[in-house]
């Protein structure tokens, strides 16, 4: 349980060094002899130990970006660096939590959680024991031997997150993990993740549609810009941690939110009216 034992301050001290860099990355899909550029000269730095959220609409190239970082896709141009070194052979080296939980229906929560360890070559029993030791921290003890279809959306996401964490990678990519949840469950999950992440000592790159969610959880928020994706506008979130949910009504929070919404509105060439309404879909 060493990973869960560190205090908040210890985790903070690590922030600073650049963990992951994308330098001038180009990528295009080819289909029927036509070329669809998705990324053009895109650069991004993620610092060690930080929680970095990317905001972008559907079709902004977020998922492609994640596939490039995980190694499912290779860039056409530019570089991906890890601690300053070229990051080749990326498959198996970053944790990835897909948008849909993608839990295996034939595995119980415990067995799903142990999957990454099994792939790493752990023996099944040892992997299950290791997974079991994390269940209570993730609030999954009571459903450890349930199958995914027996669980609610929130519990499924927790199980998927545990599976991601147990891969034991420094960098975790979370692709809109709460996108499919109802508003209340989502709020509860944000609170849960906020509390849990501070004990995990992980660097998180988080994709979301939701500006409030991004501010609440992150150290920095990046707004993805351009089609093809070419730029990210990064805003620091100077709110202290631990952050209670009530932080969302604070002055600083609201100011940050309107600034980000304005940036998003700029991106679409239309001013965003009011504060509660971000542009989704598109």
């Amino acid at each position: 349980m060493t990973h869960l034992g560190k205090s908040v301050n210890d985790a903070r001290e690590n922030v600073g060094m650049t963990l992951l860099s994308l330098r001038d990355v180009d990528f295009a899909f080819r289909h029927d002899g036509r070329i669809f550029p998705v990324l053009r000269g895109f650069s991004l730095d993620v610092r060690e130990g930080e929680f970095f959220s990317l905001i972008g609409t559907s079709g902004s190239g977020k998922s492609t970006l994640f596939k490039l970082i995980t190694g499912l896709l290779e860039p056409d141009g530019g570089e991906i660096l890890y601690r300053g070194e070229p990051f080749r052979q990326r498959l198996g080296r970053v944790g990835y939590m897909p948008q849909r939980d993608s839990l295996f229906p034939w595995r119980t929560v415990r067995q799903n959680a142990a999957l990454a360890l099994e792939i790493k070559g752990w023996r099944r029993k040892a992997a299950l024991r290791r997974a079991s030791s994390f269940l209570s921290a993730f609030g999954l003890e009571e459903v450890a031997d349930h199958y995914p279809h027996q669980l609610s959306g929130g519990l499924r996401q927790r199980a998927a997150f545990l599976r991601t964490v147990l891969g034991e990678h420094e960098l975790l990519l979370l692709d809109e993990p709460f996108g499919a949840l109802d508003a209340l469950t989502r709020l509860r999950m944000q609170e849960w993740l906020l509390g849990l992440w501070q004990r995990l000592e992980k660097t998180v790159l988080f994709i979301t549609h939701d500006v409030e969610e991004a501010i609440l959880l992150s150290d920095r928020v990046g707004v993805l810009r351009g089609r093809p994706l070419s730029d990210v506008y990064v805003v620091d979130v100077p709110l202290p941690r631990p952050r209670p949910l009530s932080v969302v009504t604070g002055e600083d929070f609201v100011a940050l939110k309107s600034r980000l919404l304005a940036l998003i509105g700029e991106e679409f060439g239309t001013p965003v009216e009011g504060l509660g309404v971000g542009r989704e879909g598109g």
Binding site: L91, G92, P98, R100, F104, I119, K120, E142, E191
Partner: protein
């Protein structure tokens, strides 16, 4: 009486009642219309024949046919699953075998049966070969389809975890294929009884197919129907056995309807 039994009775009451009604109608019609017994014997005569021949039917002919069916199915499963796996793992194998498999189904398989009898004689293998020939196809095609049912998101996730091709096959494609494999196996079990019977018609000195053909030759309809009855039981028995195996192999399919209970467990956890 348990809830399960009540449910069971409720499910099977209607079809069982219908069968009883049909048997009754059959009996009265055959007697009333004076249908000759060598054309259509009444159910009561079949029951009598079943008792009369009980000894040979259950202890000689059923075991003979059953062993052909079991051997044939076993070989079909081994070869069929291996072939489906090969086609899944190696594109070249897919390109080579898949079209041939489909074309093979246009062959009049039954017409090939005498060839096997020619090759293997009256030994059990001629009949096993006929059985394999017709039960192999549903297994290979269904299993292969099943392997391809694995969600690409699962496979991507495994790749991101660093899984190799073999791990992806074992962890995602094999479990994903189980439902399709079992439906193929059920189809195969049903047709394997047909295969064994045909094999026995053509060349055998025991087995239910052999028995029924002998009875037909001597125009003894009641024992013929008795043999058909035992063959039907064999088919039903195999089907139920596979259904049971299916449930054992896929425990996650059994436990449904507990969503509400699980949802109750989704209470807030302190952050």
């Amino acid at each position: 009486m348990g809830e399960r039994w009540r449910q069971w009775i409720k499910t099977y009451r209607a079809p069982a009642g219908f069968c009883l009604a049909m048997l009754f109608l059959w009996e009265t019609a055959v007697r009333g219309l004076d249908v000759p017994a060598f054309i259509l014997p009444p159910p009561s005569a079949i029951a009598v024949a079943l008792r009369e021949h009980a000894d040979v039917l259950w202890t000689v002919h059923l075991p003979a046919t059953l062993s052909i069916v079991a051997l044939g199915l076993l070989i079909s499963v081994i070869v069929g699953v291996a072939m489906a796996a090969l086609m899944t793992l190696f594109p070249l194998a897919e390109r080579t075998f898949y079209p041939l498999l489909i074309v093979s189904q246009t062959l009049p398989i039954i017409a090939l049966a005498p060839v096997f009898i020619l090759w293997f004689g009256y030994s059990v293998w001629g009949k096993v070969a006929v059985t394999v020939l017709i039960s192999f196809f549903p297994i290979v095609v269904n299993t292969y389809d099943g392997f391809r049912r694995a969600d690409s998101e699962w496979m991507d996730l495994l790749r991101v975890m660093g899984a190799n091709r073999w791990q992806i096959f074992l962890k995602a494609q094999v479990p994903a294929a189980l439902p399709m494999f079992f439906s193929g196996l059920k189809m195969a079990a049903v047709v394997s009884v047909i295969g064994a019977t045909i094999g026995e018609w053509l060349g055998a000195n025991e087995g239910l197919g052999y028995f029924s053909r002998r009875m037909a030759h001597s125009v003894r309809a009641a024992p013929l129907f008795a043999a058909i009855f035992v063959l039907s039981l064999l088919g039903i028995g195999l089907f139920l056995l596979i259904q049971w195996l299916e449930r054992q192999a896929m425990p996650w399919k059994r436990e449904s309807g507990r969503k509400e209970e699980a949802a109750l467990l989704d209470k807030p956890m302190g952050g």
